[in-house]
């Protein structure tokens, strides 16, 4: 089941593409998981973290733990839409990650979901359980091999944050211009739990549509959704995030940076719903439009159902300031160099509130993605 050979046994060309999407050497990771096309081909926990985390294919995990079936389709409804129904009918696997109680995982866990076959509809179901008082970072890279054109990815992710646990979940998408991507994710957060969801999409893609939801059910639970979206070459990105604040004193924060150019469309949705006293939320969306062929729309929604709820939002979409471009040009940059520097600065990973080491790593991923 779990360990299926060494990482080096994965074909070089596949690894190379995975590295471009943020996958790192397994020595620098607490655990590494690879699901390619319809099969999990690699799943291994770093020796240093054995006994602190579990990482395996979801189908293996369902065999191993009878209780796990209770977590399947608990956060995401099976009949939410046509895509969830398809995955419920039939799926090829996915990852099961569990961070054991009272453990702190200093290295990030990594998962790579990859498509290498033309016309494939990849269907995966992932479950993450952050047990009580645990602390971890996960980086998942979802990508398509550069030689494959047409494909679809349907991914269900259900994440459970137990009491006092803290999880940073970063997802990097690197699809192709002909790919349709429909992830369906939901997270349930218990008392004093913290969930940070970061989403980075920099490569052109035909159509990504997702609206992950976090249920802050626990008292003083917290969720942050951060996204960096770069729409180019006729991409369509319809990206939302939803926070349902059911726990007393729960909090939500959403920050997004979106850049659209070359005929791309970006829709940034955000919904914060305050259903309990003393809950707070803030939504911030900033968008840059580079040319007249592109489109950007920000749709913030704030809902309050109890006295004492405090939810705010700020949104701004527009062009790059000429003053900034000209200023950089007086420092001997060409207009193109100035625009690129401003865009890169605008897509600043520091909005994600990650540890400095991960910031540096994500900056590196953005640099590589922007340069390829």
């Amino acid at each position: 089941m779990t360990n299926k050979g060494e990482l080096t046994s994965i074909p070089h060309k596949i690894l190379e593409e995975a590295f471009k999407a943020g996958v790192s050497s397994e020595k620098e990771r607490a655990g590494t998981f690879f699901h390619i096309d319809q099969a999990t081909i690699y799943s291994k926990v770093n020796e240093v973290f054995k006994g602190k985390i579990e990482l395996m294919d979801i189908k293996d995990a369902l065999e191993k733990y009878s209780w796990l079936s209770e977590y399947m389709w608990r956060a995401v409804p099976k009949d939410q839409d046509v895509f969830t129904r398809k995955v419920a009918e039939n799926f090829s696997g996915g990852y099961f990650m569990r961070i054991l109680p009272n453990t702190e995982i200093t290295f990030p866990l990594q998962a790579c979901l990859m498509i290498t076959q033309k016309n494939l509809e990849q269907r995966v179901h992932n479950i993450i359980i952050a047990e009580e008082e645990s602390k971890a970072n996960i980086i998942t890279s979802c990508l398509q091999h550069s030689t494959v054109e047409n494909a679809a990815h349907l991914g269900i992710s259900e994440i459970y944050i137990k009491k006092g646990a803290s999880l940073n979940f970063t997802m990097v998408h690197q699809w192709r211009e002909e790919t349709t991507v429909k992830p369906r994710s939901a997270t349930v957060i218990e008392d004093k739990g913290t969930f940070v969801s970061n989403y980075i999409c920099l490569k052109p893609v035909r159509d990504v549509q997702m609206y992950p939801v976090a249920y802050c059910n626990g008292e003083n639970s917290k969720v942050s959704f951060n996204s960096i979206l770069y729409g180019h070459k006729n991409s369509l990105l319809d990206i939302g995030s939803k926070a349902i604040l059911n726990g007393k004193g729960s909090k939500a924060e959403m920050i997004s940076r979106a850049v659209t150019r070359e005929g791309s469309k970006i829709i940034v949705r955000g919904l914060i719903e305050g259903n309990a006293p003393e809950c707070k939320g803030h939504l911030e969306c900033k968008g840059l439009i580079i040319d007249d062929e592109s489109f950007i729309q920000s749709i913030p929604e704030l809902v309050a159902r109890k006295k004492g709820v405090e939810i705010t939002h700020e949104a701004a979409v527009g062009k790059i300031s000429e003053k900034e471009i000209e200023y950089l040009m007086t420092r001997r940059l060409s207009r193109d160099q100035a625009v690129s520097l401003i865009i890169r600065g605008f897509m600043d990973v520091r909005i994600m509130g990650l540890p400095e080491s991960l910031n540096a790593e994500l900056s590196r991923i953005i640099e590589i993605a922007a340069g390829t």
Partner: protein, 295 residues
């Protein structure tokens, strides 16, 4: 400069020099070392860094500069005085070529090349640099990265020890990882501007109120560093100021007053400054012009 020049015969000088010789007659009458001084000036005038000739500039349908002419010689610095709204910033922004500042007529010549139609980038690459009065905030772009760009370095290259000391002297070490100008005080912005210019090593510095909003200590530091750079590089500067303090540190040869879209008087900047304090800008011009007429 004088000792390095030796003696040159006037007949070998280009026509521009001869024209200028007559225009600046007063310089030659004032010195007992007549011939030697003629030679030095003659050499200098062959090295105009900047010539602005009858420049008319419009900003958003408003005429701001209405025929400005002056020249700036290699190694010289000029101080530009003038009331708020008189067009000082417009002049500097037109010289660097910001598109909002439309040149209707006249020309700008830098180091012998007409740059009136050149882009901002071209002008900057030729060696003109501006320290802005109100530089923009750029979110996500770190000061360190901009300074490295000014030095011609990539973001992965480190600062040299000498560069680090200068950053420290400018009290900007703690700002290196901060976004440009975001949350910077007025004085911090000015220090950052001047440091960028020093790293760019320009032939011509255009400084728009480098002393406004700057504390006494920082002003001394900024002004001394500017003077040090000008002395060592032989570069020139055009400095806008409303205050006299900077004149105690920067050795500027001439001052002038911009009023009604035109430049008035070229004389001792300290004298002009004192005069403005006493008589106001308009009074100062009348008085200075009378004094100059006597020459």
């Amino acid at each position: 400069m004088e000792s390095a020049c030796g003696v040159l015969s006037l007949s070998r000088l280009p026509s521009l020099a001869c024209k200028d010789f007559h225009a600046r007659k007063r310089d030659f009458l004032q010195t007992p070392k007549g011939l030697l001084f003629v030679t030095r000036r003659a050499i200098e005038v062959t090295m105009n860094v900047l010539e602005v000739d009858d420049l008319k500039v419009k900003v958003e349908n408003r005429m701001i500069l209405n025929g400005v002419s002056f020249e700036l010689k290699s190694g010289e610095s000029h101080i530009l005085f003038g009331p708020n709204g008189s067009g000082k910033t417009t002049l500097i922004n037109a010289i660097i070529g910001l598109p909002l500042y439309k040149v209707l007529s006249g020309k700008i010549v830098f180091m012998g090349t007409d740059i009136t139609a050149k882009s901002v980038e071209e002008r900057a690459k030729m060696g003109i640099a501006v320290g802005f009065q109100n530089p923009p905030e750029i979110t996500g772009v770190k000061l360190a990265d901009l300074l490295k760009l000014c030095l011609g370095k990539t973001p992965n290259e480190d600062f040299s020890e000498a560069e680090k000391s200068l950053i420290e002297a400018f009290k900007l070490t703690d700002f290196l990882n901060r976004d440009i100008n975001v949350g910077f005080s007025g004085g911090e912005r000015k220090r950052s501007e001047i440091l960028q210019l020093l790293f760019l090593k320009p032939k011509l510095l255009l400084l728009d109120e480098p002393d406004s909003g700057v504390d006494v200590e920082s002003l001394k530091l900024i002004a001394n560093q500017i003077q040090h750079y000008l002395e060592n590089s032989g570069s020139s500067a055009l400095i806008i100021t409303h205050q006299g303090e900077i004149l105690n540190y920067v050795n500027a040869k001439y001052g002038c007053v911009l009023l009604d879209g035109k430049i008035h008087c070229f004389s001792n900047p300290k004298h002009i400054y004192e005069n403005i304090k006493k008589e106001g800008y308009e009074g100062c011009i009348k008085c200075e012009e009378k004094t100059l007429e006597r020459w």
